[in-house]
Amino acid sequence: MIKAATTVPPAGVIEGYRHVAPLIDRDGATATVDTTGVYFQQLNETVRGLIGEGVTTVRIEGVNGQRYIGAGLRTPGVRIEVLGCAGNDTAMFMDGPEIEVFGNAQDGVGNTMSSGRVVVHGDAGDVLGYGMRGGRVYIEGDVGYRVGIHMKAYEKNVPVLVCGGKARDFFGEYMAGGMLVLLGMNARDEAQPIAGGFLGAGMHGGVIYVRGAVEPWQCGAEVGIAEATDDDMAELRPVIEDYAQALGLDAAEILSAPFTRIAPMSHRPYAKLYASM
């Protein structure tokens, strides 16, 4: 009755991901893994296995949304290249390795990450760097909502998150430590402000640098806004240089505009909120 739109019916249920091992092409300490259509469990098991066998560079091809790449990995000196769209919670709890994503990354990159580095040649989604406690995350393009939320520092563990494009609401909410940088360059939408509202809402530690200016309405009640001083720039410059180098950008151009420094006015923002019974 109804005309067929396709003449060849599929052999079976279309699978988003198959529970099969990815193809591995191993060359000494380097391995290339084709994960096209492979489920995250098999992919990550394979990556962990390769690293256990002494592989130091894993190039993962055909990535499209597989979750948890690099999650919980604790081997320093390991490098993972992701070709495609990195899935949710990439580098979650990661402690040491470096991940470079050639494509966009979905939500939750660097969630509760301890150390290491994530470089994304593209955009990243919401809740980027949630609870991040160390290491560096560099995003070339735009980022979503609630980025750098509850980042925290302790002694030598100082997380750094640099976003090349623009951000949405709640950038640096509850921030407790570390450094968040927002450049507003390479952004998709020229008309959009560099950040949404509630920037640094509840912030009680760390520092946010924004290239250019932000309006007071964009910021939470707990922060002070000032032009970055020479001392601030001395702190920021090496970060920007490292960021630019990682992404093949021009540090001088990034640094050619003035920066705004946003920092908490108190480490105890809610000390007066309560009355003890």
């Binding site: 919980g72 919670d89 709890f93 939320i149 925290k152 302790y154 407790a176 809610y270 309560y274 003890s276």
Partner: protein, 503 residues
């Protein structure tokens, strides 16, 4: 400074005829009640009735009385309600308090009674007969798959075992209480006791101090919204991981450890700076929906080599549907925390008015999971004011696998329920980080008291099982037929799945 309208709650009376003038009370009191000028002079307004001074006064000359000021009778405006208004109009603050909901809501446990065998089947003597309390916490298969072992027998098929379960010698564990809200010596006491008892303690959201590493096989590590003290190393050490969504004392709100409680050691364990507030957001910002919970459960499994992952929630209206979703999201256990559960600090309005009793939560969750055929897929831990072995037995009969004790644990260590943990000045050295106070708890002494408590309750559980004529706790678990209600309305009985006494 304006004159406060709130008069002291207690009167501290010293019988100076008996008083040795030794100053022990001055030194014992964490609240600074006493000045000393030839003899101790109490300032009533600071007293929390924690009885530390009373307990340690060598002359036994201190008494604490209620300040029985008369208020004009008004059943609507209680004295407490009036005091709260005065306090808030003086400060503009959210009223902050601690420990569990003290309001006189109906106690369902107290209206349930257990059965015993008479004539038709025998009761059992627990002292001389086997009486098993061992419980496995975690996901079980729906059926056991075996394969021939090649030698004419059978062996477990791959992944069919209990490898991802935690073995508990008794179905009583220590509830999550963070280092920061309680002292390190409390954590040490619990860790040592848990190891000796073959049960678990739980770090709460504050990380695992390195002193606890020797006991790590008996330690559940909590993953809460602030993600404090979490590193891949700690995930590695933990016996199991627990995602804390909510707490019975403060469902739906976050936490806030004030900067003054964050000393060097707490800061190292939480991995946050000293003196800075440690704020736990109300939600996990990577969980806004049930499919996100699945994502975090599997993130933790991926990062920890597939350790058991539990989920703790506060008991709220739709707890059954929520629990079902949690099990389907892949949790190995659900921790139900009733509205009487304790806390180190919570807004009074939240503690006293949000949530439902754990008895109801256990009953509806256990039933829902059975209805859906997924009861085997997760264990149920019940908490939120388990006050005795009787409460534990009734919770288990309603459907819990395990009970967790928090307030009872602290009581064992000296807590007098003065509801002042949030001040950080606990005279008993429990909910404070002041070194002169925390050293009041010797971990060895604490571990012994906790071991005694759990041993005592375990013996009592065995007595109850014996009376019921069963010799293994799994025969009580979910056996609501062994419970009867006295004085509960029909609707509540139906929700609990319990008959009224006489039927």
């Amino acid at each position: 400074m304006q004159q406060t309208f709130v008069q002291p709650e207690f009167r501290v009376k010293i019988d100076y005829d008996k008083c040795h003038k030794c100053g022990r009370c001055v030194q014992q009191c964490g609240w600074g009640v006493y000045d000393f000028n030839e003899r101790p002079i109490p300032h009533d307004e600071k007293c929390r009735a924690c009885h530390r001074c009373v307990t340690y006064c060598p002359a036994h000359c201190i008494t604490i009385e209620k300040n029985t000021l008369a208020f004009r009778d008004n059943d609507n405006w209680s004295a407490d309600a009036r005091k709260a208004v005065w306090k808030q109009s003086e400060t503009g603050g959210v009223l902050l308090t601690s420990m569990g909901n003290p309001k006189p809501y109906e106690h369902i446990f107290d209206k349930l009674v257990l059965d015993a065998c008479q004539v038709t089947n025998p009761s059992i003597d627990p002292l001389r007969e086997p009486m098993e309390l061992r419980t496995y916490l975690g996901r079980k298969a729906d059926s056991v798959k075996v394969e021939p072992d090649g030698a004419g027998g059978f062996r477990l098929a791959e992944d069919a075992g209990l490898a991802r379960n935690i073995k508990l010698d008794v179905p009583i564990i220590f509830a999550p209480m963070s280092y920061g809200s309680v002292s390190l010596n409390v954590h040490r006491s619990m860790a040592m006791a848990a190891t000796r008892l073959g049960i678990t303690m739980n770090t709460g959201e504050g990380g695992m101090h390195e002193d606890l590493f020797p006991y790590q096989d008996h330690i559940i590590v909590q993953v809460a919204s602030g993600r404090f003290g979490l590193s891949p190393e700690i995930l590695d050490r933990a016996a199991a991981l627990e995602i804390k969504i909510g707490q019975g004392a403060k469902p739906g709100i976050g936490g806030h450890l004030p900067g003054e409680k964050i000393d060097r050691d707490v800061s190292a364990t939480r991995m946050v700076p000293q003196g800075s507030d440690a704020i736990s957001p109300a939600p996990h910002h990577d969980i806004y929906s049930i499919e996100d919970l699945r994502q975090l459960i599997y993130a933790l499994k991926e990062a920890s080599g597939y350790k058991p992952v539990g989920v703790k929630i506060a008991a709220v209206h739709n707890v059954a549907a929520i629990a079902s979703g949690i099990v389907r999201a892949g949790a190995d256990y659900i921790y139900l925390d009733g509205f009487r559960g304790g806390t180190g600090a919570a807004p009074q309005v939240v503690r006293d008015h949000i949530g439902i009793p754990v008895e109801i939560a256990i009953a509806v969750v256990d039933q829902r999971l059975r209805d859906e055929g997924i009861r085997n897929q997760a264990s149920i831990i019940a908490a939120g004011s388990i006050r005795s072995s009787a409460d534990a037995a009734k919770a288990i009969a309603l459907g819990a696998d395990v009970v967790a004790i928090g307030t009872a644990t602290l009581l064992a260590l000296g807590c007098h329920l003065c509801q002042s943990c949030h001040t950080g000045k606990c005279s008993w050295g429990i909910t404070t980080q002041k070194p002169e106070l925390t050293r009041r708890i010797d971990p060895e002494w604490g571990a012994e008291r906790l071991t005694n408590l759990v041993h005592a309750w375990s013996h009592e559980l065995q007595e109850i099982l014996g009376a019921l004529g069963v010799n293994a706790v799994e025969s009580l678990r979910g056996s609501r037929e062994r419970l009867r209600a006295i004085g509960l309305d029909e609707q509540t009985c139906r929700v609990l799945g319990v008959k009224p006494a006489g039927l």
